[in-house]
Subunit: 117 residues, 2 copies
DNA sequence: GCAATAGGGGAATAAATTATCCCATAGCAA
DNA sequence: TTGCTATGGGATAATTTATTCCCCTATTGC
């Protein structure tokens, strides 16, 4: 596993939520799991720009942070289902606020962002 | 300036807000500017873990995204003041929700995060 | 003449994160 | 025997982001 060289600082709530929510696809993973897409293959279909690999990694981190659970069915071929924990569910309204702000300002943001790419 | 090699994807509101809010210190910058710390030196004092350089860079990006304004007073030594735009101000409640979730779950998060570092 | 002031930024490098490639499991079907 | 299935993961490369170091402005005050 990767070993940090620059120490974390966890001073305030913003630092803390940042730690569990950073990661290019984590927010989307939580969102889609909440919407009922619980199997890895479904999630990959919903997030085609992410490689299979990263999704696995980020799912594992979410699991390590008690935000999702992973249920492995002992069948072949394998079947796996992720679900939000109660703790993870408390993030949904937070994510919803983020998405809402983005949606409400969609046009403006789109042009601002594309201007400076 | 840096030229992206992997194209952006801006499908939904979450992608859009991510574009303007990602950056290690941006959220804190917005927060502190809103609290009244408007001069670069003040911001540096409030965020001592960030180098002067990154703060400048991220402030400039915030400015490019119309979230803050920069007023330069033509005096020597220079005096500069940042302020939130009306648009930037609409982000404050959003950031507040993030911080609140982090604060409410502080102990739990702290132990979860430190466990796997 | 020289330091202190408050701020800005280029270049090189380090660190962190994500992507790519390729192999593995275990049973069933053609 | 080969290929399909759904999933997992090691190794390494590429990309993105942040840090470090050092130099610059123009005035005031010693």
């Amino acid at each position: 596993m990767y070993e940090r060289k620059i120490p974390l600082n966890l001073n305030c709530g913003l630092d803390l939520i940042g730690e569990v929510l950073y990661g290019k696809w984590k927010i989307r993973l939580l969102w889609f799991i909440n919407e009922g897409y619980q199997r890895p293959s479904e999630l990959q279909r919903k997030i085609p720009d992410a490689s299979r690999r990263v999704l696995n990694i980020q799912l594992k981190e979410l699991e390590g942070h008690d935000l999702v659970t992973k249920k492995i069915y002992p069948v072949v071929p394998p079947k796996v289902e992720y679900a939000l924990t109660d703790f993870g569910k408390t993030l949904i309204p937070v994510i919803s606020v983020l998405g809402k702000w983005g949606d409400e300002n969609e046009e403006r943001l789109r042009s601002l962002i594309l201007k400076d790419s």
